[in-house]
Structure formats: structure tokens, C-alpha cells
Amino acid sequence: MKAVCWMGTEKMSVETVPDPKILNPRDAIVRITSTCICGSDLHLYNGFMPTMEQGDITGHEFMGEVMEVGSGVDQGKLRVGDRVVVPFTIACGNCFFCQKQLWSLCDNTNPNAWIAEKMMGYSPSGLFGYTHMMGGYAGGQAQYARVPCADVGPLKIPEGLPDEKVVFLSDIFPTGYMGAENCNIQQGDTVAIWGCGPVAQFAIRSAFMLGAERVIAIDRVPERLQMARDGGAETINFEETDVVDFLQETTGNRGPDSCLDAVGMEASGHSLFFATDRAKQALRIKMDRAEVLRQCIRACRKGGTVSVPGVYGGFIDNIPFGAAMNKGLTFKMGQTHMMRYMRPLLERIERGDIDPSFVISHRVPIDRAPEMYRIFRDKEERCTKVVLDPWAEGARAA
């Protein structure tokens, strides 16, 4: 089959590799019909996530048709022929964490848990196509994928809904939604959202669903700011405006009730700390640039909430923790507990509350994935979201 492989920093390549096989009784094999490039894949592309290995198949936002199920899959839950969206987190369904609905913290699905334990104390769940520390599972930017614990994760999609409306249930829609939910929004709240990428776009719309009165979104890319305004947000271009000053002023010196970091470890900014982050990252002294998180902490009102759906990989410094402590902030974060949100959000799509396909800017054959990684990273061609067709022929058939 064709698969997108990480061959090194800024080196992606479409390779012909063997088809996946069932390796455990609860596995399924899915023939992929749509698969996407996620903003978090760019952290891999840029070489900032440790424990990638040349030849790893990337991708964690995919859907398709079930071709084969293992003998341990509960037939009542999943059958050959089902059309499913596959969540990016893999969960066993039976451990302490799964039973508490903390699906992305599953105890059992990471076969390399010991690596994650060395770094974090305990290991989160396995993820598709996202480093060996997080399980080393082959990803879904391919024609087929092996899906472990297939009777827990995949969500069946009813006929009549096209791929592009539902494929984002695999990650970014639930991730944006959980980010907004983690803001602990009360009726009438003001929420500030850093970043206007796809996750932020869903966070903006979810914040309104959850009762926010005012959403202020921050970015510098014109088309993304426009998309945020289309979703009802006010916007700040951080190239033109001092974000923290503006937020203080526009809220009457109270500050936003919640601040959401939908950017993560590769933030951009202008502060002195940003410059040192950048220098240290270049020297590989540390991995993460935390400019957005710093701004979130400073801007947030006293007793407010900071929600972090943006991905961090390792260590950050110069965090104003004194401000966080003295202002009594609450922090909520984590990889998305996918199985909590997929079904309710599918129902919202079915009801017509939202059509997630609005974020798509590019639909291309999988052969063009390597160049699309660069275009998406550099935000060229007004690129906001790339959906890959694993079966379309020809590199130029977009």
C-alpha cells in the first residue's frame, strides 16, 4: 500500500510498504477513504518531537471502511463493512482511566510505556503515528491502517454523511470542543483563544455552543482571522497589537475569564523570552517554545481558567508561575478523551448545528502529502486544512 513516511526533519515521503495485518485479537483493518494532516503533525515534520524513527508512518486523522476484524472484536460493536471514523487515541476500555472516561490516559495501549514513564512518570495512551514514546503505532496517512482495540474507538457513521463532514471527528473537532469545555465556561463569559488554526476554529464555535458571550481569537494569518470572524469571534493580529494589553483594556482591566492555548510548543511571538526559546530550540537545548502559554497566564483574569489543547512535548521555561499561583488560576489540559465527544458531536453534525468541512482548504491525492506538509507549515496557498485521498491517482490530479 501507499503510506506517508517520516524520513527525517522536513523529509516526508510516500513509500510503498506492506499492507497492515491483524496483530491482536481486538484489531481491525480499515481501508482508509479520507485522511488529514494535523497541525500537530507539523511538530513531527519540524523535528521537535523526540522518538520518531525514519520510516514511521504518520497520520492520526482518518476514516474508512472496516475490511477485517480480529476474533476478539465484539461483533455487536464493529463488523466488516462498517464505515467508521477512527479516533487518534487508542484506549483499552477496561482500565481505571478508561472507566473514568479519561480515554487518552489509558494504561494499557502504549507498548513503549516505559519510555513515556522515564519522561513523564506515567504513560498516556498510545496514539496513531505519533512517536515511539507514544506507542509507535503506524499512522493513518496510508491506504490501510491497523486499528487496535477496535471495539472501543471507531465510531460508526450513518449513510448519507460525506467524509468531509465527519472526518474531523477523528481529532480536531473533539479536541477544539474539549479545549472549550476545559475553559469551564459560564453563561456570559469572555474567552480568549490563541491561534486560529483548525483546532482553534472548532474551539471558537464550541465556546459559543457552551455559552460564551464573547470570543477573542489571536493569530496573524489573514484568512485564518477571517475564518475566526466567520465563526463569530473578534480577532487580534498579534503582529499589530500587543495581545495582553489589548485583552486587559477590552475587558475593563478584568481579563478574559478563560484563556485557551491552541498553539502549543511552536509558538511565535516578539518577547525576549520568545527569542531565547527560539535560540534554545535551535540548539536542541529544549524542545518547546511557550510564548503563548506565558501570555495566557498573564492575560487571564484572577480566578480564571487556562485550557491547553495545544501540544507540548517536553520542557518549557520562564513560565510566570508566580502569576498563576497568586491569581488563583486553574489549568486544564491533555490529549482529547475522544470517545467522550465523538458521538455527541456526530449528533450535532447530523442535526446541522455545524458543518466541520468549513476548515478544509485543500483536497489532494496522497502522493502530494510531502509538499502539502511544507505548504501547510508555511501557511502558503491560504492553507488551513489538508485532506488526503489515499486512492486518487496522479500527483497533479488535485
Partner: protein
């Protein structure tokens, strides 16, 4: 460690008191000799070195026994975990170094461990303590070349949140070729080996299979990583798949 297991270990180590005495004797004697040699009017380097060696031998004496201990909270009743472990023939499913355990029915069992290049280590073991749903201990019998001890404790977690399973193992490495095989099997870090064994035991009970990526597709690996993979080949056993199937079938039946 509960006081109970501590006491049990001390009892098991009967005779180690003499060993401890000898060790401290060497340590203190060697140390004193070194101090004397270095502080007298004409320092004696050879004497000091001899003293140092004696102290070093003392310090390392009796520590050549390998011990490992690991503990995991498992989301099941103590009975379920105990039953799985008490069927000693199940152990090779999650203990990768074990090829087989055969129970003979009289509390005795025959164990075979397998190391690199198919080198095997065999020993007989007997159950020394068997408290249903709580505790199990075993040791190799006197006629075995490879002396080892093991125990596992099943304790209901506070708040009834599953079972805390604590396993311990200890072995005295035999000399010669047998010692090399044992070292290869249990690795430089027996605690790591034990932890990963226990993690697989937990997965088998909770996930009902052992997670893996061995055998999945990938693109071309780098020359360096290909070499690493050649030196450290994948170690999943074929029985890990069928164990998952068996557990799934048992669940369906119950």
C-alpha cells in the same frame, strides 16, 4: 513492602546473618588497614591497596544476588488476578524469558527459561506458600542448578479500586557457563524485565491482550536503526496473540 513480606524474606535468607558479619568484618578490617598504611610514618602503598581491596570485597560480598520488585495497580478483583497467576502455566504468556512452566500436580513444577540463541535454563520449583487470593511464594528446589525465589502479593487497593499486585524475584547467579546464560536471560536490569512482565500481566487482565506494534508496516529504516533492530530483534511470542484470543473467549463464556 509489607512487614509480612519483609519477615518472610528474612526467614528465607536464613544464614545470611553470618554473611553479613563476614562482610562487615572485611569492610572494617580492610578500611582500618588502609588508614593504618596511609597514616604511618612511611606510608605503605601496597599495604593500603591490599586494605582497600579487602574493604571492596567486603562491600560487594553478598550483593551478587539479583533482586527485582515491581508493583502495578490492576483494575480487577484480587481473585481474578490470583487465579491467572496461580495457573503457573500461564506465566510464560507474560514473562517473556519463560518458555514453559509445567505443573506436576504435587505443588512442584518444571520451569524452562530461554535466552539468546535458544540457550535454555531449567529448574524445578515448589510452592512454599499459597494463600488464596492473597499471596503466593515459590522457590527452586535444592536439586536445581539455578537457585531462585519468587513471590507475588495481591492486595485490594484502597477504596476498592482494583488490586495492587506486587511481585518479587531473587536469584543467585550460578557460576560458569550457566551464569552467563542466566545473565543473558534476566538482563542487566532484572527490575526492568520484571516491570515489563508485570505490565503485560496487567494488560492481559485489563485489555485482554498484550499491546504490540511488532509486525506492522513501516517505510525504509536508516542503516543505524536497521543495525539496532538486528541486534535487538523483536521479542513478541506467538503465544501472546493466542493468549488474547483465549482471554476473549473466556470473557465471552462468562
Amino acid at each position: 513492602m509489607s512487614r509480612e513480606t519483609e519477615m518472610r524474606r528474612n526467614a528465607r535468607d536464613g544464614g545470611s546473618q553470618a554473611e553479613t558479619l563476614q562482610r562487615w568484618g572485611m569492610l572494617l578490617g580492610g578500611g582500618a588497614l588502609t588508614v593504618y598504611a596511609l597514616t604511618r610514618r612511611r606510608p605503605g602503598i601496597a599495604l593500603a591497596a591490599a586494605g582497600g581491596l579487602l574493604a571492596y570485597r567486603g562491600a560487594t560480598l553478598g550483593t551478587t544476588k539479583f533482586r527485582a520488585r515491581a508493583s502495578f495497580a490492576i483494575n480487577c478483583e484480587p481473585e481474578t488476578a490470583f487465579r491467572m497467576w496461580r495457573g503457573l502455566e500461564n506465566l510464560p504468556i507474560f514473562m517473556r524469558h519463560l518458555e514453559s512452566v509445567r505443573e506436576r500436580g504435587d505443588g512442584r513444577s518444571e520451569w524452562t527459561a530461554i535466552g539468546p540463541m535458544g540457550k535454555r535454563l531449567r529448574w524445578n520449583a515448589e510452592i512454599t506458600e499459597d494463600r488464596e487470593n492473597e499471596f503466593l511464594a515459590w522457590r527452586s528446589t535444592q536439586d536445581s542448578d539455578f537457585q531462585n525465589w519468587g513471590s507475588v502479593e495481591f492486595r485490594r487497593a484502597p477504596g476498592n479500586r482494583g488490586t495492587i499486585v506486587t511481585a518479587e524475584m531473587e536469584y543467585a547467579p550460578p557460576g560458569g557457563a550457566l551464569g552467563k546464560v542466566a545473565a543473558a536471560i534476566f538482563g542487566k536490569d532484572p527490575e526492568f524485565t520484571m516491570r515489563e512482565d508485570l505490565r503485560r500481566f496487567k494488560a492481559l487482565l485489563e485489555m485482554r491482550e498484550i499491546p504490540t506494534t511488532e509486525g506492522q508496516p513501516h517505510g525504509p529504516r536508516s542503516a543505524v536503526m536497521s543495525a539496532v533492530h538486528a541486534v535487538y530483534p523483536e521479542r513478541r511470542k506467538p503465544t501472546e496473540y493466542s493468549a488474547g484470543e483465549r482471554v476473549a473467549a473466556q470473557r465471552r463464556a462468562s
